[in-house]
Every structure is written in structure tokens, then in C-alpha cells.
Point group: C2
Chain length 219, copies 2
DNA sequence: AATATAATTTAGACAAATCTAAATAATATT
DNA sequence: AATATTATTTAGATTTGTCTAAATTATATT
């Protein structure tokens, strides 16, 4: 799929605006890209033709799976270049956006993967925004309970929010340390407790207080 | 002067092909850019309008001073990116051209000057081609006699090709060492000898053998 | 000098990405 | 429900960079 710079910018804007919403409006995209709604309609037809968006007249726009995949690539390129500019070329984080806006359109997978490696495979950019990996996955770092609503998924312990010895003692007793892999078996809404399992051990349940203080990332 | 990518590519090709020639042909440019002569004629009119080339129907094309200035900027960007790709991202020198071809069109003086600094202000790229500085000047490193044909110019000694003690002794006796600034006063074609002068000393003449072994750069 | 060949330009067309102005559809308000 | 407002689309035009085919100019050859 060979996209023009204009097409890439539309994909990126739609991705940015979609976030949660089912569908993005013509007007919103026009405003975001500083262009006119009529131009957005024109481009929507082309992107639909290329199967990168779902679009029916007057019904709004949303990315297809393939469109989203491409959007994540563009976001990855943008954020890695921002890292490079700040960490290697000593730019300040508030002046890198425009330059990264241009660099992100240089298309070479090899280039971007080498760049990522050169930067130590960072997972967030200088603004704190997460950087998707080559497969488009975010390595999310967050509290078990608050954000990761999925059940039956494997997570890796990445840190603790509360450094109190009481918590550390508890985690130690349960065999939970940095890097430990945890399978989430069930979440109970009535008290926000979570049933988890560590490899080769029987499952057990942790309270909301505990789950709110363990930072994990997805694998 | 805000140029499109296409305009920059034309400028770059004309610069490359001009080298010595008074004028470049429509056909040569078309071949170089893998396009048609008719397209070159169209673009020639635009670039003439912008005063970047001298062009009269059927008379060939040449860069104006401003056009050359811009060409040197593009060459600088291209070669610095090649350095980056090879030295920092471990690409091999034969696979960087295409990527640099894209990166060179990202226009930010600050970016390119920071990149140059980051790379240690290199003066040649991985293919051995010289990199112009921010002012468009080459820091040429070469044998006195072979390439630098200009008379009455100041040069700086940058090294010796022949490490024999005989040569080093001679240079020492004449007060010529690394960094010494030399004014070339006259070149004599019949024996390729060169009359030179070092600050505060009487002028003297060096033979072809000697001049062929002193590496200098322009200031 | 006449003619053949090669180089260059012109004329007219096309695709991409945009625009303005007018038309149409969806939504909100009375 | 009728009307006003807002959102969206269509139609037609523009700019940039390109193309093909035909016309023109320059150069080489006899």
C-alpha cells in the first residue's frame, strides 16, 4: 500500500480524532487538518476505495483494521523521531513537533526499526505519549484495576506505585516481583478485587488497594 | 524561497550534471531524473521564473548563484543523512542513498546543523564525497598540485601522503607543519612546481614531488 | 547547401489535492 | 410539523507535475 503524504496525514488525523468515538465527522477532520470539509469528502472517497476507512455519505468516517495498522505506523515514526530530536540533537520537547511531522513521512521500515534500536526502543516520546512497537502494539504501563479491563490476559509486573514496606512484604509473600508474569483470571465488580494466577501456583485474589498499586504492562 | 520536492530534485540534478560544463541539456536532466524532456522544459520555465536557473530556449540550463546555493544545501542534507545512517544506524554505505533521498527534503536549518554537530561535523560522507558546510563551502582535502588549480589562494596543511623521514625533514626545515597556512603565489606549468609563501617569511618554491605529497584544505 | 537525425519545445491532456459556491441532508428549535 | 441552522456533498475550477504526440530548431552528414 503506497500512500501519499496527504493520505497519511488524513489517516493520522482520523486515528487521533477517533479515540473512543465510533465515527469522526467531516468537519472535525477539516478543522484538524486546517482544510475545507469539501476536501475531506473528496479524500474520504479515495481512502474508502483503498479500504482504509469505512465511509457512507453523511454517516461519518472510521478507520478499518488496515487503516488503523497504518495509523499506528505513522504514530510510531512520529514519536521515534521526536525522541531522536530531543535525546540526540538536544531539541526541547516543545519545538520538535513540526520537524517530526515531516520526518514521519519517510517510509522505510528498516530505517525506523534501526532508529528505535538506536534510541534503546523507547516506549514513550518526550511528551509522555506511548510509542507503538513494530507490530503496532503499545507497551502500556498502568494500574491493574484502573485501565486494563480485559480478563484472561497475561501481564508483567513493571513497578509499584506505593513503596510502603507493608505492600512490598505482601508482594514478597505472594512471590510477586518486578518482571513476574501474571494471568488475570477474573475481575469482581462488587469490590474491584481481582483473581490472578502466577505460573505453577494456585490462583489467589488481591484486593482493590493492592491492585491499584501494582504497575503492569501488557506483553 | 520555498521549494517543492520536485523543484529541489531538479536543482540537485542540474548541480550534479553541471560540474565543469557551462550548461546542461534538457535530455541529460530528463535521463537523470527518469522523466521526459518535455517535463524538463516545463520545469525550466518555473525555475527561471524563480531566478534559480539561467535558461533560454534551446540554449541549455545552468544554475544561478542562488540556485547553486540551494543545490549545496540539498547536497549537504543528503550527505549528512548518509553519514547518520551509516555511522549511527549501522547501514552499509551502499543501501543509504534512497533513504537519504527522502530525508534530504526535510527542510529545517536547525535540524541539519544540529545533525552535523551530532556527527562531529564530518567533511566527507560514507562514499567519500565531500560535505559542504552551512555556508556551502567545501573543506577540500587534496594534493596541492593535482586538484587545486587556483592561484593566489590561502590553504591550510592537513596532512602528508608520504610519511618518509626525508619529506618530513624537508617540511620541518621549511617550517611547514599541520595547520600551517600557506599562500599559493604562482604555479609553473613546465615542471609543475609551485611558489608558496608562509606568513612573515620570504616566498620559496616546492617541486612537484613535494607538492604531490602535501594534503591541504581550503579555508 | 540540402537533407537526415537528434534535441527541444509546444499544445493539449491527465491525476492529485485542493478550493469556492451552490445544493442537499441531518439536526435543532420553535 | 414546519422552519431554521448546521453539516455534508456535489459541481466546477485551479495548481503542480507529469505525460504523449506533433511541431520546431539545432546539429551532423552527405
Amino acid at each position: 500500500m503506497n500512500l501519499t503524504v496527504a493520505e497519511e496525514n488524513y489517516i493520522k488525523s482520523i486515528y487521533k480524532l477517533q479515540d473512543g468515538q465510533a465515527v469522526v465527522s467531516t468537519n472535525a477532520i477539516a478543522y484538524e487538518l486546517d482544510t475545507k470539509p469539501a476536501s475531506v469528502t473528496d479524500m474520504a472517497k479515495k481512502l474508502k476505495e483503498k479500504k482504509l476507512i469505512d465511509y457512507e455519505k453523511y454517516q461519518g468516517i472510521s478507520l478499518t483494521a488496515e487503516g488503523k495498522r497504518i495509523a499506528l505506523q505513522i504514530v510510531r515514526r512520529h514519536r521515534l523521531w521526536e525522541c531522536f530530536l530531543v535525546e540526540k540533537l538536544s531539541f526541547s520537547w516543545n519545538e520538535v513537533h513540526e520537524i517530526a511531522e515531516e520526518l514521519e513521512h519517510v517510509r522505510s521500515e528498516k530505517l525506523i526499526n534501526r532508529l528505535s534500536e538506536f534510541l534503546g526502543n523507547p516506549t514513550t516520546d518526550p511528551h509522555g505519549d506511548p510509542i507503538p512497537d513494530a507490530q503496532g502494539k503499545f507497551s502500556k504501563t498502568k494500574q491493574l484495576i484502573s485501565l486494563d479491563k480485559a480478563t484472561a490476559r497475561r501481564l508483567e509486573v513493571a513497578g509499584v506505585a506505593d513503596q510502603s514496606s507493608a505492600l512490598l512484604e505482601f508482594l514478597n509473600a505472594k512471590g510477586i516481583r518486578l518482571g513476574t508474569q501474571i494471568d488475570v483470571i477474573e475481575r469482581y465488580e462488587f469490590d474491584n478485587s481481582v483473581e490472578i494466577k502466577i505460573r505453577n501456583q494456585p490462583a489467589f485474589t488481591i484486593s482493590e488497594q493492592v491492585s491499584k498499586n501494582i504497575m503492569v504492562k501488557t506483553l
